[in-house]
């Protein structure tokens, strides 16, 4: 057996990260790194804080800056410092924090980064040992780098947006607009990808490469994840569209209580499906092996079969026969899910203002250096503590507070 980690070590212990970012993508990066034990200090605007504090959801639908689910979820484990970066004194304090950090993560596009003094030249002057990572819609160089963009714009600039929906939704509504993945998925993909790059730079720093920049374009993160249609153009000359992209057999199937996904890629799987369906003629193995001819007919039959059944019954019975079925779960069904609960996927966090709720935990487990999930900070909760560490006296802190710097 492995030796027990008796010192409660974490993967990123002792790594100090300064996060200057809002909403979803870069805050998700910071959250992931905080879960590995890094000390992540988040800079927030003194009056408004991160706009995700206004986004909700709020307990009892009662809006409050300390009770927004989007902020609470994306900023677990961080410290919050209020700092007005529009003021020279605010930037002076920022530079002092930069001097004490190993990594700076920000989400400011180049023009804005320049205004705020966040360009690499400035930051390296303050701290030549830094890792500087910008997590921006289109990266920190190139003609589009300062373009205005939100999640929907980036998602449709990276290729995947134009290819959604496919399958059943497209059959129902072929005339409608292409769609954006729900829950700001593209922003999470961008944040996760940036976190991988930053970990790479941290690992290189441990091994002697001291300072560098990591330029993360959310568009390119999504393009990288969705590279396949590009490869199909390059090597086959085939142009994928949302009309060409559907499963000849399988896809979204309606059930009595929702929807279920079916996908059989291996012969043993469609043999299992045939058995499960009671071996009707339309589901014989020879028909499955010729999806171009029989796919549409099989799908029609399977859909009318699933339509009168319960998605969880089909899921468990089908899987027992080796047939890849999976129900489309609602947030509530996930929250109550026995499998995920048995894995400890939900963790209750206490929060003095928002109340105590169970949060989605991290989607990976490092048993020897466990991940950490701690509540999100109040707006400016750590301002005084951090300024005091920087050497500011109580009366100076009051002056900075009065002037709106902190």
């Amino acid at each position: 057996m492995t030796t027990q980690n008796s010192n409660n070590m974490t993967a990123l212990q002792g790594i100090r990260i300064l996060e200057i970012s809002t909403m979803v993508a870069a805050p998700f990066t910071g959250k992931l790194l905080a879960s590995l034990g890094a000390d992540v200090v988040k800079i927030e605007h003194p009056r408004t804080g991160d706009p995700s504090r206004r986004r909700g959801p709020f307990p009892s639908d009662d809006p409050h800056k300390e009770r927004s689910g989007t902020f609470l979820y994306l900023n677990t484990g961080k410290r919050s410092v209020c700092l007005n970066l529009d003021e020279p004194q605010g930037r002076t304090i920022l530079n002092q924090l930069v001097g004490l950090s190993d990594v700076v993560i920000h989400d400011k596009q180049p023009n804005m980064a320049n205004t705020l003094g966040l360009l690499p030249d400035n930051l390296f002057q303050v701290n030549p040992k830094l890792i500087i990572s910008s997590v921006t819609p289109y990266g920190s160089t190139g003609p589009d780098s300062n373009k205005y963009a939100k999640d929907i714009n980036i998602f449709h600039s990276a290729g995947e947006g134009n290819l959604l929906p496919n399958g059943l939704a497209l059959e129902h509504f072929p005339e409608r607009a292409p769609i954006t993945a729900g829950s700001l998925m593209g922003s999470y993909q961008g944040g996760l990808t940036a976190a991988v790059g930053i970990l790479g730079a941290i690992f290189a720093k441990i091994n002697g490469q001291i300072a560098q920049t990591v330029d993360c374009s959310i568009q390119e993160a999504q393009l990288n994840i969705g590279y396949l249609p590009i490869q199909r153009i390059e090597s086959e000359g085939f142009e994928e569209t949302r009309f060409s992209r559907f499963f000849r057999v399988g896809g979204v199937m309606p059930t009595d209580d929702g929807y279920i996904e079916l996908l059989t890629l291996e012969p043993r799987q469609w043999e299992g499906l045939g058995k499960y369906l009671g071996e009707p003629d339309w589901a014989s193995p020879d028909k499955f092996s010729d999806p171009a001819t029989y796919g549409a007919g099989i799908n029609e039959n399977v859909r009318s079969w699933t339509k009168i059944r319960n998605k969880n019954d089909i899921y468990h019975d089908g899987q027992a026969l080796g047939v890849p079925f999976a129900p489309y779960y609602t947030p509530g069904e996930i929250f109550e899910n026995v499998h995920q609960r048995s894995r400890g996927f939900f963790k209750k966090l206490r929060h003095p203002e928002a109340g105590d709720y169970e949060y989605a935990n991290l989607p990976f487990n490092l048993p020897e250096t466990p991940t950490i999930l701690k509540r999100a900070p109040l707006l400016g909760e750590h301002t005084k503590e951090i300024l005091s560490n920087l050497g500011y006296s109580k009366s100076e802190v009051i002056m900075l507070y009065r002037s709106g710097t902190i």
Binding site: I152, S157, T180, Q189, A194, G200, R232
Partner: protein, 408 residues
């Protein structure tokens, strides 16, 4: 004499140069994790076999075409053949692990144990090995053994339910889910490598793609925890922007994505549209009203966009500070000026096809270069380098093992 291993072009100065990965993963999610590590300069050795070809080397049941379009997924890697049904192959696999830093796999839970290369066997030969297991449902729990593919992770994790038209079915999310799972496994791999620096400990890292899906809908799960509200799909809309949508433009299948959050942005948009009477109407006067009358607003906006080229709509709005962009088809992405200027599509040489474009790594490091510089190897292309150069087997010995379908 041993044949020296030829490094990737970038392996000497990538962030992971000097790290060796034994990659047992197949299909898409696991290999994508290996690709990310290989692009960072790790030496990734893909273990595969003629006994059970990776699906990307076979004719695909869905696409029914050669694997050429899957070339990128195993780029930058080396290929060494081991028929893991043979005890001698398991011995060689363990030898390889003993000189590796990290092992990657995405079999169903229990398969590695059954083959004799489970975590307990690995730590016998390499006590501080990091084993990263990527799976649909995780290594534990009642459904850990269930089969899963990309759209199923999205279905179980809630992203499927939350994607689609409000009055239509959920939408299946495709390869992107596999690859995002691979990206998460790359994150967990790097976390394990960093942890080992401080702790000197290896570990068995459990990564579940279904959990990842759920972790991408954290706020919706909190809405349920707080208010017992079950959120559902809202098409192209957003909680804090109105109007937001994808609108039809001039031509066959051309669309523009527009998002307006503030009154200032709305006034800019009204200006770009040339102050039509309806737009100055008080029913769209503030964000709350625009959100309430969103259906009607969408029809009016589309009346404007549908007579104009998508790029013209986007440019005119961008000039005034409004977030707008063309919904790019894959071909338009491939030809996009900005991406081309950022060298998003580097040219790689392929023995059969000559120069071919790939998609570049998603990070630009200023010092430790990440690059894609070598296409997916032929099956067993690096057998000699790995078994002779790295593990020290004599060439005749390798030939015998090939004949006996061990190195195969």
């Amino acid at each position: 004499m041993n044949i020296p291993i030829t490094p990737n072009a970038n392996s000497s100065n990538g962030p992971l140069s000097g790290i060796r990965v034994a990659d047992f993963s197949v299909h898409a999610a696991g290999p994508f994790a290996g690709l990310m590590l290989a692009e960072m300069g790790a030496q990734v050795i893909k273990i595969e076999s003629s006994a059970r070809l990776d699906i990307t080397r076979r004719t695909h049941t869905m696409y029914g075409k050669p694997p050429s379009s899957f070339e990128q997924i195993n780029a930058n890697k080396m290929s060494a053949c081991l028929n893991l049904k043979e005890p001698q192959a398991i011995e060689l696999a363990l030898q390889l692990v003993s000189v590796s830093d990290l092992v990657l796999e995405n079999f169903r839970p229990g398969v590695m144990d059954r083959l004799g290369i489970g975590y307990t066997s690995l730590i016998n030969v390499k006590p501080d090995i990091i084993l990263v297991s990527l799976s649909s449902n995780g290594q534990t729990g009642p459904e850990s053994n269930y089969a899963g593919y990309a759209p199923m992770f999205a279905a179980l994790g809630g992203l499927g339910h939350l994607t689609g038209y409000p009055d239509g079915p959920p939408v299946e999310l495709r390869h992107g889910m596999d690859h995002t799972g691979g990206m998460l496994a790359a994150f967990a791999s790097l976390a394990g490598l960093c942890a080992k620096v401080w702790s000197s400990l290896g570990q068995h890292v459990d990564v579940s793609i279904r959990d990842m899906g759920a972790s991408f809908i954290g706020p919706a799960l909190l809405d349920y925890a707080m208010n017992q509200r079950n959120r559902t799909r809202i098409g192209n809309r957003d909680d804090s922007s109105a109007p937001q949508g994808v609108y039809r433009c001039l031509g066959e299948d051309n669309w523009v994505a527009i998002s307006v959050s503030s009154d200032d942005e709305w006034h800019s948009m009204v200006h770009a549209m040339g102050y039509p009477d309806w737009a100055t109407n008080s029913q769209f006067g503030d964000g709350f009203k625009r959100w309430k009358n969103h259906d009607e607003l969408d029809l009016l906006i589309e009346k404007w966009t549908s007579g104009i080229e998508a790029s013209q709509v986007s440019d005119s709005l961008q000039d005034l500070g409004v977030a707008a962009s063309v919904s790019l088809s894959p071909k338009q992405v491939f030809e996009d000026n900005h991406l081309v200027e950022r060298e998003a599509f580097p040219m790689i040489f392929d023995k059969e096809k000559g120069q071919q474009k790939a998609v570049s790594p998603p990070w630009k490091f200023s010092k430790t270069v990440a690059a894609i510089d070598k296409w997916t190897p032929e099956l067993g292309e690096n057998n000699i380098e790995v078994f002779n150069g790295l593990l020290g087997l004599e060439i005749p010995e390798i030939e015998i093992l090939e004949k006996h379908q061990v190195i195969w």
